[in-house]
Amino acid sequence: MSRDSKLHRWHHRMNFGESLYLGEVFRGMGITMGHLLKNLFWTKDMPTVQYPEEHRDYSNRFRGRHRLMQREDGTEKCVACMMCSTACPSDCIHITAGEHSDPSIEKYPETFEIDLLRCVYCGLCEEACPVDAIRMDTGIYEIAGTSREQFYVNKEFLLNDNQQGTL
């Protein structure tokens, strides 16, 4: 039986060598010293990321903070159909619909607010949207603030390419 499978047995009786402890203690000390030397001389190989200065690379499919898409003329693509706020499992999207001056568009959101403290970043709003108006492709995950109001982001914030996490 190999050494490892022995270790995983619940009722493993130590053999004589192991019950002396000393040999096993030195073996363990060898393992820890190996780690120490490896990390001392090959510091670059350590998995630690020096966070505020360095960032990890995330996949392009990573769901970060939402943004609202614009038409070519700079107005919001959203037609206030309420599909996203209906699909939202955490009830964090609040839209007030208003009548658009252009008869071919029908409706537009007068307000479009997302409560980022409630959001679970599931991406259902993105999938529900019929006009591709809401996306979570910003890759922003540093969502921090000093008051609750800061997390209640509005339409203007989401529409323009803001790089901050919160208001």
Binding site: V25, M29, N39, T43, T48, Q50
Partner: protein, 423 residues
């Protein structure tokens, strides 16, 4: 006068070494444990961007502890609660009085022994003071009026009683071999050679005793794998649970001071004390023209390698942070270069022969350096073992102490006695 001034100087030297080692040991503990566990460890505190790989953190820690609230829980014993940390720290520092950190130093024709109090019952003093250390722990645990602190204190007592016996038995073997209770005699006796090549260190003449003693010292200093008095998984943090601010800092520092004593005792009793194997005082004095350049050359080599490493790092990580921290590798590299240059200058200025007085002082310094080096190594072993082994279960601790180490210690004593009677 002739006694007081040298004694004060010796005490100052020892206190500087010990209290200077404590923050360094805390740093080594944090950084070493981090590297052992594949983390980077503390590296944020800085002075003008110079972080010294986390060495600034102890300063930050102490400042933080100084400004914290000094809290006393309701129902605690006011006097004993305040006394306990001071007692622990005081007793931790007392043991150093009998530890010889060098042979003697000869200045202006007068020989000064490098030991604060050369007691003829040095070992008994060590044992007595070591067991007194428990009083502070028990006092702290009991006066806190907290059941976890109390349980921690109880565990500390029973552990101390169990392992002190093995410690005494292990020391008894050494005592028989060197036939003295005076620590300076034991240290000096380890300078001899057996059969002309094997240093007569305690570990060579008493291997079982050495193992028993090292294990017992681990238990006495409450370090892992014997740190049951503060087992945080079941006792939150044991006897110092209720302490905060500088009182906690005192407990914390006392733990490291105890570690340094433990290391100093292991060194003195079993690893030759201040002796450098095969390099006795006479050999150093008569060959100072060879020993000194070698020592300086090694120092130079080490400093150069470190300087090169830092400069390579500075080149590789150029503008990594975009602030003062980018200057750090260059700063460290310049310091290492300067120390390498200093070694070169010293090497160039080394006369191939020193006067007998200067050579004797150089030999003493080398021996003190050897002692400090060994102590630092054993401090590192304490840290190394802590981050390698899991904690013993309470019944395992007791059965190891009473059923394995006690009989082994007695058997070792009998074998030693027979061997000494035959040889």
């Amino acid at each position: 006068m002739s006694v007081v001034v040298p004694s004060l100087l010796k005490i100052t030297f020892l206190l500087t070494i010990i209290l200077g080692l404590v923050p360094v040991l805390i740093w080594v503990e944090r950084k070493g444990s981090a590297f052992i566990q594949d983390r980077t460890g503390p590296n944020r505190a800085s002075i003008a961007g110079i972080r010294l790989a986390g060495l600034v953190h102890p300063i930050a820690d102490v400042l933080k502890l100084m400004f914290k609230e000094d809290f006393r829980p309701e129902g605690s014993h006011k006097f004993l609660y305040a006394l306990a940390p001071f007692l622990v720290f005081f007793i931790a520092l007392l043991t150093y009085a009998v530890i010889p950190f060098g042979d003697f130093i000869e200045i202006a024709g007068v020989q000064y022994n490098l030991i604060v109090a050369d007691l003829d019952i040095g070992i008994l003093y060590v044992l007595a003071i070591a067991s007194l250390g428990t009083y502070g722990v028990v006092m702290g645990g009991w006066a806190s009026n907290n059941k976890y602190a109390f349980l921690g204190a109880l565990r500390s007592t029973s552990q101390m009683i169990s392992y002190e016996i093995c410690m005494g038995l292990a020391i008894m073997g050494i005592m028989m071999v060197f036939s003295s209770l005076r620590l300076s005699d034991i240290a000096a006796g380890q300078g001899d050679l057996i059969w002309g090549f094997l240093p007569k260190w305690g570990i060579v003449v008493q291997p079982i005793g050495a193992i028993l003693f090292i294990v017992a010292v681990f238990a006495e200093t409450n370090r892992n794998p014997f740190d049951l008095p503060e087992g945080e998984s079941e006792l939150v943090s044991g006897y110092h649970l209720e302490y905060s601010s500088l009182k906690f800092a005192l407990f914390f520092m006392a733990e490291y001071c105890n570690m340094v004593i433990g290391a100093a005792l292991i060194t003195t009793l079993f690893f030759g004390g201040w002796n450098i194997p095969w390099l006795s005082r006479d050999v150093i004095v008569s060959n100072v023209g060879i020993v000194m350049p070698i020592q300086l050359g090694l120092q130079f080599l080490l400093a150069t390698v470190i300087a090169l490493l830092f400069f390579m790092r500075a080149k590789r990580e150029k503008n990594k942070f975009g602030d003062n921290r980018d200057r750090e590798p260059v700063f460290m590299g310049v310091i290492a270069t300067l120390s390498a240059a200093g070694a070169v200058v010293a090497l160039g200025a080394t006369p191939w022969t020193l006067g007998p007085g200067a050579a004797s002082i150089y030999a003493t310094l080398l021996q003190v350096g050897a002692f400090v080096g060994k102590v630092v190594f054993f401090c590192w072993v304490f840290i190394w073992v802590r981050w390698t082994l899991p904690r013993f279960r309470y019944d395992q601790l007791m059965s190891l102490g009473w059923k394995v180490m006690l009989p082994l210690g007695l058997a070792n004593l009998v074998v030693t006695a027979i061997w000494l009677a035959l040889v």
